[in-house]
Amino acid sequence: MKVLMFGWEFPPHISGGLGTACYGLVKGLAYHNQDIIFVVPKLWGDEEPLADFVNASDISIDYRERKFKKIWKNLTYLEVSSFLVPYLGPEEYQKFTDYAIHDRTDVDESIFTTKYEFSGKYGKNLMEEVSRYALTGAQIARDRSDFEIIHAHDWLSFPAGIAAKEISGKPLIAHVHATEYDRSGESVNKPVYDIERAGMHAADHILAVSQLTKNTIVKRYGIPAEKVSVLHNAVLDASIIKSKYEKKVPEKIVTFLGRITFQKGPEYFVEAAKKVLDRDPNVRFVMAGSGDLLNRMIDRVAELRMASRFHFTGFLKGDDVDHMYAISDVYVMPSVSEPFGISPLEAVRHNTPVIISKQSGVAEVLINAIKVDFWDIDAMADAIFALLHYKGISQMFKELGSQELKKLKWEHVAAKLVTVYEKTLSTRP
């Protein structure tokens, strides 16, 4: 089957989980000999040749096409709220907007055709990029008529998917990796929500990364449950990582690793840490990452007078992430709302027992982990204490966790995806 797939990023140039998931999925589909045309706003040239990559920046848009005018007209209103930054805290926002200002250019203007140079980043021009991306989506759909089905990942590429569907008449699959409710709680960004909703309604079928996300889609976006299939993520490599990196402190280490934002529930980790330290001061807690709640967390840790036992690393990259997993004795992911959450699986690969919130998609696939409600700091503290002190339970989780991991393969995910494609094509009127 030939699939026209719209993404936003692809390894090695990624800033979030979306790119990793796309990579795994494409790899899995390639294993099943599926043909993929993968479109990203910007290609860097060093992507692994798993698909037929199309760089949206190279596409000339022919404005003479009537339908394009209609698409553009419906989309340009989005630029009004172009200051919206969906995935980033203020710190990264600054970084990326600087980038966008310097690198963004409209190039090759001629009377009838325009190429638009995408930065491929999340930033100030994001909404404009999303809109332009939709136009190039339409153009690609017209130029390349050899595909059978369209597959769009998350709201950033939904407008492109919708446009491609309109031009080609081929069915659209909308793949939801996260919703606006996960990112922002109840204070959703209306324009983003509207795009998500439009994409889901325009789609012939929807994929959700977890049952949890499916519930959100049904409840919040008014989609009938039978239109949504759950397609859990997998891991690219399930092998156990034996790190040579050694811990330099005598105490056991309990780790939080992720963006320090509302969605990830860092404050529950801080409060649970206090409860554990009151009982056993010989533990070190580490909050690794950066985000808009970082300073508030530092304040709270100082206020609770536990800063000599609770450490902050700032944003970690490269080897440091592996080192952090390697020296951790317990990994905690207290997310308030996590559509999937790949990081506990990384922890399992490092033989680190994990505690995950029940409000995460990964809780649906990882059986051998302690699961607590994100708000239940007493249960969280209990679980941390138990994993630190009762060798039996941590040993058991280590062994069973790594066995479980081996079952989470992208090949299996892709096989399921192929059946969804086939069903969607066959049920089309």
């Binding site: 811990k247 330099k248 402190v249 005598p250 580490v286 690794a288 970082l294 300073n295 530092i298 304040d299 840790v301 100082a302 206020e303 007078r305 800063a307 000599s308 450490h311 902050f312 690393t313 700032g314 440091d320 080192h323």
Partner: protein
């Protein structure tokens, strides 16, 4: 006799290098040698060397009539020995003229006086030894606490150590209607004299000198002489206390600050009845007019003249408490590295960097801080402190085994 007392605070902290969580337990060297050396060399060129040369010139020209007073912190002197022996030598030459008085303070420019008498006394003792060693057996008689921090209790401790006088801020809220231009004494121990900074005239030079929006800009010696002549005749002492880095660093050479200082003594001698004295001379000649009551500590910092630049927010209090709970253990350890780091970690600047008073005096704090935010300062300090705690524990174990 009416007299001017010029006192200069000369201090540089040991700045901490970027120290990450992963370094805890592994890297036991905390100090940012590169940035410390760079800053010392820069300030030496802009301030210490030219200003010391100017003061020497004035002392020699006026033959015993022009005098100044310094307090040189231990962390400053250590860095002079390491990075700027030329500066150290120029201070030694100044002291050798006999017209320069040196004060004692805590070795680490620390806040120990607020926490522990034992540590405070110990650090003062160490500073005494350092001054004596570097300045040919010189023994200061007058004390100056970190950032002019003072309270009745601190004064009492200082008197117990045998000092005759202490310098502090002439803060409005403790003086009320009183004038800073008299000698006072400590309210608990009258033997200790208290000299108060005239902050208006001091800050005219230290802060406002180059401020073009100031109504009295530019400050000339004529103007300054007019102001000091306007001081009522019965007020005998004018204490001009300031950071030494005022000259050439806070006020650049281009502002004319050096020319102002070069011309000032001549104008004072010609057009006023003021002389120049050091604190020891003042207390031997002027009697105190009464006690000054300072129940809660004051300092010379910020608009509030209190301790909030260093202590009071959660970050500062947490760091401060975690540091000083080590005191008893550190005392047991006879290890030069531990003792050095213990002194340097106590330096008040580390706590100053954690100040979150963004909206009033934040800009001044920002200017002096090597960190982007108080949170960065806190994290870096706590990482280092966490490693220090581990080392102290190890060493104490070794000691107890023996």
């Amino acid at each position: 006799m009416r007299t001017i007392c010029f006192y200069f605070q000369v201090h540089q902290p040991y700045r901490i290098k970027p120290y990450r969580f992963f370094d805890i337990g592994e890297d036991h060297y905390y100090w940012d040698d590169f940035s410390n050396r760079t800053i010392i060399r820069k300030v030496a060129q802009k301030c210490y060397l030219p200003m010391n040369a100017l003061l020497l010139e004035l002392i020699q020209r006026y033959q015993g009539k022009f005098k100044v007073t310094f307090s040189l912190s231990g962390t400053f002197l250590d860095q002079m020995e390491a990075y700027a022996p030329d500066v150290l030598e120029s201070f030694q030459r100044l002291v050798a003229t006999g017209q320069v008085e040196l004060l004692n303070e805590t070795y680490g420019h620390a806040l120990a006086s607020l926490k522990s008498k034992a540590e405070f006394t110990d650090m003062v003792q160490k500073h005494q030894e350092k001054i004596s060693r570097l300045f040919n057996g010189y023994t200061p008689k007058v004390f100056r606490n970190t950032e002019l921090i003072y309270s009745d209790k601190i004064g009492e401790m200082v008197a117990d150590m045998g000092y005759e006088a202490i310098l502090t801020e002439g803060a409005k809220h403790i003086l009320g209607w009183k004038s800073p231009n008299y000698v006072y004494h400590n309210s608990l121990n009258p033997k200790l004299k208290v000299l108060l900074k005239n902050f208006r005239l001091s800050d005219d030079i230290a802060f406002r000198f180059s401020n073009k929006t100031w109504e009295d800009y530019p400050l000339t010696t004529d103007k300054f002489i007019n102001w000091i002549n306007a001081i009522p005749k019965e007020e005998q002492t004018l204490n001009l206390f300031m950071d030494y880095e005022t000259f050439g660093e806070h006020q650049w050479a281009e502002t004319g600050i050096f020319e102002f200082m070069r011309a000032l003594p001549e104008s004072v001698f010609k057009h006023s009845d003021f002389s120049f004295s050091t604190p020891s001379e003042i207390i031997s000649q002027v009697s105190p007019v009464g006690a000054i009551h300072v129940p809660t500590p004051i300092s010379w910092a910020d608009e509030e003249r209190d301790l909030t630049a260093w202590l009071g927010n959660d970050l500062q209090d947490e760091a401060f408490d975690r540091l000083y709970e080590l005191e008893d253990q550190v005392k047991k350890i006879n290890d030069p590295d531990i003792q050095r780091d213990w002194k340097y970690l106590q330096t008040s600047d580390h706590f100053y960097y954690m100040c979150t008073k963004f909206f009033s005096d934040g800009s001044v704090h920002e200017y002096f801080s090597p960190y982007d935010t108080p949170y960065d300062a806190f994290i870096n300090y706590m990482n280092v402190l966490s490693d220090f705690v581990l080392r102290v524990k190890e060493k104490v174990k070794e000691v107890e085994k023996v």
